[in-house]
């Protein structure tokens, strides 16, 4: 078993807002969603209220390919609260859709993380029906690296 794993149930659960509910509904179905502007087609991170580029309010949820590259990361050995199992990673992933997301890389050893490594999303329960997106290293063909 590798050292970087999903957190066990009991960690703080996200509290969806009116604007983010579709994102978490997607996670529950193993779909990573993001907002795209209907006017200028910009892809936007988080649950934006307005397009970051053209200020259109007409944003729609799309499904991400769920693939990206590792942009920055840290390995945490002393957690904010004891409910988190260490070590764990916190990572910034640059998705193929050109947006950055905060997540955690699992399925490898802490010292195996490298800049730009290819990652694929997978979902793990966080609380009740909610799931949290994690990322696992994959080879160029898209298969998980053991």
């Amino acid at each position: 078993m590798t050292r970087l794993r999903p957190q066990p149930p009991g960690t703080p659960a996200p509290v969806p807002s009116r604007f983010s509910a579709p994102y978490w509904e997607g996670c529950a179905r193993d779909e990573l969603r993001f907002l795209r502007c209907s006017n200028c087609h910009l892809a936007i991170a988080d649950a934006a209220r307005i397009c970051w580029r053209c200020h259109s309010r007409q944003l729609r949820w799309e499904q991400s390919r769920g693939r990206g590259r590792l942009y920055s990361w840290t390995i945490v050995w002393r957690p904010q609260t004891p409910v988190f199992d260490v070590p764990y990673s916190v990572a910034i992933v640059e998705l193929d859709e050109d947006i950055f997301v905060v997540s955690s890389v699992i399925g490898c050893e802490p010292d195996a993380l490298t800049e730009g490594m290819e990652l694929a999303v997978e979902f793990h329960p966080v609380n009740g029906d909610m799931k949290l997106p994690y990322f696992r290293p994959v080879d160029d063909g898209g298969s998980p690296l053991a």
């Binding site: 957190q7 960690t11 703080p12 659960a13 996200p14 509290v15 969806p16 807002s17 983010s20 978490w24 991170a45 988080d46 649950a47 942009y71 920055s72 990361w73 840290t74 390995i75 945490v76 050995w77 002393r78 957690p79 904010q80 609260t81 988190f84 764990y88 916190v90 910034i92 950055f100 997301v101 905060v102 997540s103 955690s104 802490p110 800049e115 966080v126 949290l132």
Partner: protein
């Protein structure tokens, strides 16, 4: 054109006792001590005050019977001092207190500062906290420029040794430290070890600003605001700290270099450049922040901050001593505005020549800062001994 801060003087500054815990105080009571101490330092009294700024400004107005007075619940550091100066130069106030205080807030054993714990739905599930946010920025700099853990450790050792020799520091006498000691301390969030991180403590502080005319007759030589600026990209501790995040079209400074525009504005107002600065009282939540700010503010080219901090330049007797009281790593780290106002206070002490330790001989211009890249904001101020 007259300098915009020419008619506002910093007439008094004060730090209360700083300690890991102040069991006989709450945040309001220690803020009161900060306010009264600053007035005493200036040679002014409560009856002279007609404005108060700080996260507890309203309560201070009531407790000290300051009314009728201007009150502003500005819980920032440098922007609060700049606001005080603006109240004076525009004639809205004659004597303004800027006050911070924090005590009794560490009610559990978790030593992450409570005001930095994120609840944003997109980060909370991943165990994000302050050290992680600053580590994600530091890691990106290390990947881009080859900055090393040893260079971060050189910063932490320098600042902790400043606190080690400061009798007013919470961690007075707790060193000295070598960079090897920093690297040998337990890992927190890579690349940060325990000794790369700020501490937590309690305390209060205050500053008094008044008109230049009034300051001329007071107890202390005045210190002067030569320039200031403030940059932010969003709320602190909510969103992912992404080095290359940008804002307005036409503004190409990435979030990684937040503070660059603020520093440039401060230098323009002052008519100065980085080479005119004798001491930098930089905000030091994590060791890497010093490297980042030295680059952002123009003290060295991008990517060269690691080398800049490794050759003695930022230490005692160096060309640009940094965070000379020990900063948040060793001097004190009380919550919210206090820790940030303390960077201004130390700058005032440096240009007045009244530091209890590590006085930079003949310091005429000090640069101080608040915030940092993991927090997506950075405030900058230049403080001088000569009226602009």
């Amino acid at each position: 054109m007259a300098h915009p801060f020419r008619d506002a003087a910093i007439a008094g500054v004060f730090n209360t006792l700083q300690a890991r815990r102040l069991p006989d105080h709450d945040s309001l009571s220690i803020a009161i001590e900060g306010a009264l101490g600053a007035l005493d330092d200036a040679g002014l009294g409560v009856a002279d005050v007609d404005g108060v700024i700080g996260e507890r400004a309203g309560e201070l107005a009531y407790e000290l019977r300051l009314g009728p007075c201007r009150r502003s619940p500005n819980g920032l550091g440098i922007p609060a001092v700049l606001e005080a100066a603006a109240l004076i130069t525009t004639g809205q106030c004659q004597v303004v207190l800027v006050v911070g205080g924090s005590a009794g807030i560490y009610t559990d054993r978790a030593s992450t500062a409570p005001w930095t714990r994120p609840t944003n739905e997109f980060v909370v599930g991943y165990g994000m906290f302050t050290a992680v946010e600053f580590a994600l920025m530091a890691k990106r700099h290390m990947l881009t420029f080859g900055t090393t853990p040893g260079q971060l450790a050189a910063v932490a050792a320098t600042i902790r040794n400043n606190g080690h020799q400061n009798p007013e520091a919470v961690y007075f006498g707790r060193g000295p430290f070598t960079p090897e000691d920093i690297l040998a301390s337990r890992p927190i969030a890579e690349p940060f070890h325990l000794l790369d991180c700020s501490t937590t403590s309690e305390g209060g502080c205050g500053l008094v600003l008044t008109t230049a005319d009034r300051a001329a007759d007071l107890k202390r030589p005045a210190a002067w605001i030569l320039g200031g600026g403030s940059d932010a990209y969003g709320p602190a501790y909510q969103h992912g700290p992404i080095w290359d995040f940008t804002g307005r079209p036409g503004e190409d400074v990435p979030a990684g270099y937040v503070g660059r525009r603020a520093a440039a504005a401060a230098f323009v107002t002052a008519g100065l450049s980085p080479s005119d600065v004798g001491v930098c009282e930089l905000y030091d939540p994590f060791s890497f922040e010093i490297i980042r700010q030295l680059e952002a503010f123009g003290f060295c080219p991008d990517g060269e901050g690691g080398a800049f901090v490794s050759d003695g330049t930022i230490g005692p007797g160096g060309r640009l001593p940094v965070t000379t009281d020990g900063g948040t790593m060793s001097f004190a780290h009380p919550g919210n505005s206090t820790q940030m106002l303390q960077r201004v206070i130390r700058s005032v002490q440096q240009v007045r020549g009244t530091c209890a330790s590590a006085q930079v001989p003949g310091a005429e211009v000090a640069l101080c800062s608040n915030g940092g890249s993991g927090a997506l904001f950075n405030d900058v101020m230049l403080v001088g001994s000569v009226r602009p």
